[in-house]
């Protein structure tokens, strides 16, 4: 897969996608998002890959949307370009995405980070939705996902003032899972991806789906959804193997079936 805005490596069972527009702090233009979605959809279909690490560089995960691309846009341009359709596809990624976030994660960069399933941040990471400073507001899920992550009051303050949150604050308020020194966050994210990739792939996939379902459904419906996924797993070979290995006190060998 040739990409111009991403560096993509596979180290089965994991893949690493690195946003690669360092000169513009990995600003998210249309092409970058298109490539990202393409890469993730490809990995979803690739049996050798069971989890992805999504990262930028130490200075910037992503400083947000490419303002140049937006400056001249009219509402009709935005409708026709339909950039958010890419975000909708991003949301449907089936395999786990571990975000390894350092430096700026602002605007669209923060929203992209929040599309990850687990976030490992460096101590230098900064999260924010500063759109308000340029006369707009978050448009790729920021108002919804940040609110769900850190609660109404903190989200409202960040979104209305454009103030940033440090990695340690983000950790305290539940926006990130873990904070490590800048020299170590990426390896930790890879380690976690490897760990997840050792688990039964179908179970991983259905569990992720069920957790994300909780954002869209009332509890009763979510519980029914969970239960159906749970029952479904009893038809997999991996479930038999997992339980057998447990009773035999040995590591399970999962096949993804």
């Amino acid at each position: 897969m040739p990409f111009s805005h991403l560096l993509v490596e596979t180290e089965p069972p994991i893949a690493i996608i690195r946003l690669n527009r360092p000169k513009v702090l990995n600003a998210l233009n249309f092409e970058l998002l298109r490539e990202l979605v393409e890469a993730l959809e490809t990995f979803d279909k690739d049996d050798r890959i069971r989890a992805t690490v999504l990262t930028g560089n130490d200075d910037a995960f992503s400083a947000g949307a490419d303002i140049k691309e937006l400056f001249e846009a009219t509402p009709v341009d935005l409708i026709q370009r339909n950039q958010f359709a890419l975000w909708d596809r991003l949301k449907k990624t089936a395999k786990p995405i571990i975000g390894a976030i350092s430096g700026h994660a602002l605007g669209g960069g923060c929203e992209l980070a929040m599309n990850c399933d687990i976030i490992i941040a460096s101590e230098t990471a900064r999260f924010g939705q500063p759109e308000i400073n340029i006369g707009i507001m978050p448009g790729a899920g920021g108002t919804q996902r940040l609110t769900r992550a850190i609660g109404k009051f903190r989200a409202m303050e960040m979104i209305l003032t454009g103030q940033y949150m440090t990695a340690r604050e983000a950790e305290k308020h539940g926006l990130v899972n873990k904070v490590l020194p800048v020299e170590a966050y990426f390896e930790e994210a890879k380690k976690l991806a490897m760990q997840i990739a050792q688990r039964a792939p179908v179970a991983t996939r259905l569990a992720k789906e069920a957790v994300l379902k909780s954002f869209d459904t009332p509890l009763e419906e979510g519980l029914q959804f969970e239960r159906r996924n749970f029952y479904l797993l009893f038809s997999t070979e991996d479930m038999k193997e997992g339980m057998k290995a447990f009773t035999e006190k040995r590591p399970a060998q999962f096949k993804g079936r």
């Binding site: 490590l180 020194p181 020299e183 170590a184």
Partner: protein, 264 residues
Amino acid sequence: MGYETILVEKRNKIERITLNRPSALNAVNDKMGEEFYAALKEAEKDQGSRCLIITGAGRAFSAGEDVAGLKERYGEGTHPSLGDHLRKKYHPIILRIRNMEKPVVARINGIAAGSGASIALACDIRIASEEAGLKQAFIGVGLVPDSGSSYFLTRTLGPGRALELIMTGRTLGAKEAETLGLVNMAVPATELDKAVDDVAERLANGPTKALGLSKRIVNRAPHLELSEALEYEAQNQDIAGRTEDHLEAVKAFLEKRQPKFSGH
């Protein structure tokens, strides 16, 4: 770079910033605040400088905030926002000194008062002339400690002794400060340069990355539970363990010679 209110010298991997308004006891006017901060930023970036010394020219280390500059701000009995002044001028300086991942030595040549004391207290190691002193001058003008003084004093001395110094505003002599652990060493004025240079040379030839990481974990230690501190040490030891200097030290040990640290 040409500065008006400070001097910056570099020699043998050691950088020295001298607050240089001796006729005003190196009081920090706004210009000095800007220049000092700019020099700190440069020093942090400069891979060639592996130890930073901060000192004052003439008799004083620094008398703190420049009182002459206050005249303009207090016209017509108004109350300027001191908080905003601190946030803009001093907080970046104090945070830069604390977060800079290389050793910073305060060469306390004379009185360090008010925010001048805060700057000295923000450094990693303090070496003072016996004629020097630290003074929490704030209460004398009806103000509270700022620029980190309350933080550093309380952590070093505990609340009782910190409050005594803050409430009385008395000048703490260098010898007493040494006894309290507030300065690392108090030496006769004539021996100050030798004492500072010995320490600075040792640090400048040390494993800079490990020195920086040590500062990082010590900065964070007071905020952590033991189990968290253990984990944070382990994370940073992983990083130190991958440096060239660590391998050089192991090699030197096996070869029974002194290590030569490159700082990487």
